[in-house]
Subunit: 341 residues, 2 copies
Amino acid sequence: MTKTIDRPKITKMSDLALIAGVSKSTVSRALAGNELVNKETRDRIAALAREHNYRINTKARNFRTKQSLTIGLMVPSSQSKWQINDPFFLELLGSIAIALNERGHELLLSSAKLSAEHGIDELVSQSHCDGLIFIGQADIHQQLNDLASFNHAMVVWGGKLDDQKYVTVGGDNFKGGYEATKHLLSLGRQRVALLGDNTTVEGSMRFAGYRLALEEAGIAFDELLCIRPEAVKNGGMKAVQKCYDSGIRFDALFAFSDILAMAVIRALTPRGVSIPDDVAVVGYDDIALAGYYLPPITSIRQDRELGGQLLVEKLLALLDGEQVASSLLETTLVVRQSSVK
Amino acid sequence: MTKTIDRPKITKMSDLALIAGVSKSTVSRALAGNELVNKETRDRIAALAREHNYRINTKARNFRTKQSLTIGLMVPSSQSKWQINDPFFLELLGSIAIALNERGHELLLSSAKLSAEHGIDELVSQSHCDGLIFIGQADIHQQLNDLASFNHAMVVWGGKLDDQKYVTVGGDNFKGGYEATKHLLSLGRQRVALLGDNTTVEGSMRFAGYRLALEEAGIAFDELLCIRPEAVKNGGMKAVQKCYDSGIRFDALFAFSDILAMAVIRALTPRGVSIPDDVAVVGYDDIALAGYYLPPITSIRQDRELGGQLLVEKLLALLDGEQVASSLLETTLVVRQSSVK
DNA sequence: TTGAAAGCGCTAACAA
DNA sequence: TTGTTAGCGCTTTCAA
């Protein structure tokens, strides 16, 4: 009786070692590119591995080396669901994924909501990743600080705060707010309204920029022109409608996001207000669709490619035990037809 | 000399076992909620774990159990970069993340491009996940089939094909195309143009629906009215402009995505064409921004919440060794002002 | 330059 | 109901 000898399936290092006629350790070293192993032997083992379709077991490897080459991404949200309704975040996400991948890491998406019982630290220790990227500080600055002091490798997309213990990468919100407003004023507009939440970290800085620009132009700040989006669906549009219908008039508006800028346009157009003739509008973030709108939206651009790259670089540096500083990214004004015909 | 006895840091199960006065195995069972262990003991150990801030080592656990509770998500792209420029995919991504999380799984984002040297199977074996979700079949149907026959747990968002060996969840593209066209015809429009790539799996089915609707209305198909977006930035807009400027006229247009519908509107509006008076436009996907556009865009809605949920359920069932069938999701027409005043 | 051996922290078969 | 024991597949000292 002849046994059918089909090539045995190579699933572990020891199998490959057997075939190669060397020890497990040598295979391990060879596959890791360790120079201790003869270049010749190394190549031979690599070839053998390829030939037998052997792939190192990452789970065993990660377990043994106590690292995963995986980075977790969290989008803090006080809401119950994973709410990346902000296209900007999504675009940033893409650039982070690319940057990580180029460096041989994987990206783990955490849809986890933060709550009292399930704090961040629980998430962190549960998640199978070496480091963390947070997109947005929202209202969890304190929690982030706590986490950072626990010595977790983490970076945050957002603004820099005085007492902050974590590393951030973020656009210059102050400058962005300043430039948006200045642009509107330079068009000769006198009554520049504001639409956005100025209680968040980012919002308050944009607000400060807005105020400075007004001040420099010698225009008094008018609380009535500060519109807060309501916390409901189409909240931005409703707030603007309410404001306008109450008789308040303005000839320009700076919105804290492109989505809000679109809301303004949708609110005012049906009321016979022409954009930009009657009201010039500037948004923020310059999301892809900003240029697709009608009229195309003037916006403050934040470089998400660079942002994602920096977040990743800093985090990996942190993991290597290096000292890392926060970065403030340049913003640029992209002029389109929502402000200038 | 007195030794300072600070509470030892509990990092492994055996430590906790020592404290609890039981064996490692019992702790393991207790923490896993195994009913074999006395409810009393179980609770005691759980309390102890919490008290000592012990968290099970997931890497060791995953290694041992040969599973990771992690699902990989891939967006096939022939491009060199991770191109989720399609907002619909991003919204689907969100619902997948939520569905996975509710079931205790994590989501690994693969930004990997597919190429000749680095095929899918390599990606799969490299990645640390139990199963895979593909968003879109694009042009890799054959590769997906190969992969599926290799017995990989995988589900695909997309259309169902005859020779397909993998499980899909997707909208009814045929019906979607049919309804979009029928809607336009029901408005009394006679010359319904089409904007989209009808060579993809999804596109060809929408195209078939379009043709059927025309046929039923007794309107001859006109090749000239089929506009293909160019493979460049703003390709949709350019293609429509070129078509229009060459003198071709139509009174309605069905676009294969909302983004394309926006492109149509941007292309025609400056030429004095009124939407929807002169040309009624229908898009596809009903992305969040479709309702935000000016005019708001009539669109074929695909239920992404349900889609994400089904993808996840099917994949987990597959992992449990169950037999799973593909799903065709209902589409609904959402009428807005781009087609009806 | 290579091999032998120990062990990462956990689970699960088997025994008690 | 609990404990004992034997690994999972890999990396890494240490010794040769």
